[in-house]
């Protein structure tokens, strides 16, 4: 009986873990007994694990991750610093919204990675080009989430602060900023995913180091276990960040968890 209750309590992580392990076991089995083809084109979890161990303890991958992270931090920080004020401004001033919205909507909807070659021509192969691409991909979730956050600010609360003698500044700091906070966390989660696409594409196009470059180099040289190992590392990083942010969302805004704009 006690075991049954324990299971009910932890059903989610238990089933999640079983499904992931099952997936890898199935893959291993298929790759060993069913599709016993050319190892140039297919690999299996056991080989990936060995490769991952080699990459992580060999130090090779850490250098690549560090290089990519640097570009990511630059591009992402710029996206935050520029995106949030633009979004707040658009949300607060109707004219700004009408003027800017067509551009941002078009840009947000289009596959901006297509601009990668152009950005690399303008900013060069190194850090700047990659950071620019990451910025371009990550900035729109911040703009639109800040915008949506301001738009959804409860007019009643603005009136409450006014009624108690609050000025513009008080409305801004005591109502608008706290209101958009959960939207910002949600925006960050989307922006991280897009930013990672930015890194990878940027490094696919032109780079001599970085995690994207590593993946592309392993692929080019048919080192599939290493390639998959690098991808798995990247996936892990992305999952840790986005899940961490989901937790953060519950902490910064326990009254409305799970808000999302676009």
């Amino acid at each position: 009986m006690a075991l049954r209750e324990k299971y009910d309590e932890y059903q989610r992580p238990i089933l999640g873990t079983i499904s992931v392990i099952g997936f890898f076991l199935l893959w291993e089995w298929v790759a060993t007994y069913v599709i016993t083809v050319n190892p140039f084109f297919f690999t299996q979890p056991s080989k990936i694990a060995v490769a991952a161990k080699g990459l992580l303890f060999g130090g090779e991958l850490w250098k690549d991750l560090a290089v990519s992270s640097k570009a990511f931090v630059w591009g992402f920080s710029l996206a935050v610093i520029i995106g949030i004020p633009i979004g707040v401004f658009m949300g607060w001033r109707r004219r700004a919204e009408y003027t800017l919205d067509p551009f941002f909507t078009a840009l947000y909807a289009s596959p901006l990675v297509a601009l990668a070659p152009l950005l690399i021509i303008i900013f060069g192969v190194g850090l700047t080009g990659k950071a620019a691409l990451i910025f371009l991909l990550a900035v729109f979730p911040f703009i639109f989430n800040a915008f949506a956050g301001v738009k959804s600010t409860d007019r009643l609360l603005v009136n409450v602060v006014r009624a108690f003698g609050g000025r513009e500044k008080d409305i801004y700091f005591k109502v608008i900023l706290p209101s958009i906070l959960p939207y910002m966390v949600a925006g960050t989660r989307i922006a991280i995913g897009r930013g990672i696409v930015g890194i990878i594409v940027g490094e696919f196009y032109a780079a001599s180091e970085g995690i994207g470059f590593a993946i592309s180099r392993f692929g080019d040289t048919y080192r599939l276990p290493e390639m998959f190992a690098a991808i798995l590392v990247l996936m892990t990083v992305a999952v840790v960040f986005t899940e961490g942010l989901r937790k953060l969302e519950n902490i910064v805004a326990p009254w409305k968890a799970g808000q999302e704009a676009r």
């Binding site: 009643l156 609360l157 009136n159 409450v160 602060v161 006014r162 009624a163 108690f164 003698g165 609050g166 008080d170 005591k174 109502v175 706290p178 906070l181 805004a253 326990p254 009254w255 409305k256």
Partner: protein, 262 residues
């Protein structure tokens, strides 16, 4: 002697975009004595809440004169505080931080406003819930916070905009009784807007019945029931007579509203 609050010829027309203008108040007059408990009743949309917002200083009338203690009202001020129907609590603030809001906007030092907030939390019976967030409270408790917040700034006039309308019937009865107790202790001037004839009769010294839109004064009734009033008083024939009288005035206005297709 001039009344404590004097409203003369208050006229206000809302001009929404793409819709016909709506005259909410037209030549509305009201006198309110210091320490008086006065209720406004009338069909919905008759402008009673509008008048409250004009008195609060959030809305500017197109025409008319509004004075408090001989001084013209031009905007929000510390001698007036509002209790809102939908509570208007900041969801990211704890109970005590919500109660402190008005004091904070007034520039009261942190230690002092905390002390004052704790005092009011005790007054409204929320001791033990100081660190709770609004979403953890019931409707009745939220409105206690709203009341404490309004009282914290030590206003002379308490404006209450259907403060108990969102509560269930029993909580409502309880809150009415507690409001009376607090009012008898603090001797604030109260302007109370309600849909409920029973509520108006039970709480007030005088009841103003308003006409259908645009709102004017239809009749003013004196509630000559002894204080302190208790729940049992509501069962007395005198009380029912007063209710019948209010209903007699209100009935035609509700009908008028109905036949106008509103």
């Amino acid at each position: 002697m001039a009344p404590y609050i004097q409203a003369r010829d208050i006229t206000l027309t809302f001009k929404p975009k793409n819709r016909d203008p709506v005259t909410a108040l037209s030549g509305f007059n009201l006198d309110l004595g210091k320490g008086e408990f006065l209720s406004l009743v009338g069909p919905s949309g008759c402008g009673k809440s509008t008048f409250l917002n004009v008195l609060l200083g959030l809305l500017r009338p197109d025409r008319g004169d509004l004075q408090l203690n001989g001084k013209k009202i031009t905007g929000p001020g510390q001698e007036r505080a509002m209790v809102f129907q939908e509570f208007g609590l900041l969801p990211w603030r704890t109970v005590v931080a919500n109660v402190e809001l008005g004091l904070e906007l007034k520039g009261v030092p942190a230690a002092m406003r905390h002390e004052r907030a704790m005092e009011l939390i005790r007054l409204v019976g929320l001791t033990g819930f100081e660190q709770h967030y609004p979403h953890e409270l019931s409707g009745g408790m939220k409105q206690r916070v709203g009341l404490a917040r309004a009282l914290a700034t030590e206003p002379e006039v308490l404006l209450m905009d259907e403060p108990f309308a969102a509560l269930d019937a029993q909580t409502r009865d309880l809150m009415q009784a507690e409001l009376l107790q607090i009012w008898e202790r603090t001797k604030k001037t109260v302007l109370f807007v309600t849909h409920s004839i029973e509520e108006a009769a039970y709480l007030s010294d005088r009841v103003v019945v308003m006409t259908a839109r645009p709102g004017r004064t239809k009749n003013i009734l004196h509630v000559n029931l002894p204080r302190p009033r208790d729940y049992e008083m509501r069962l007395s024939p005198e009380f029912n007579e007063i209710k019948a009288e209010i209903w007699g005035d209100l009935k035609d206005e509700l009908m008028a509203k109905h036949t106008n297709g509103a």
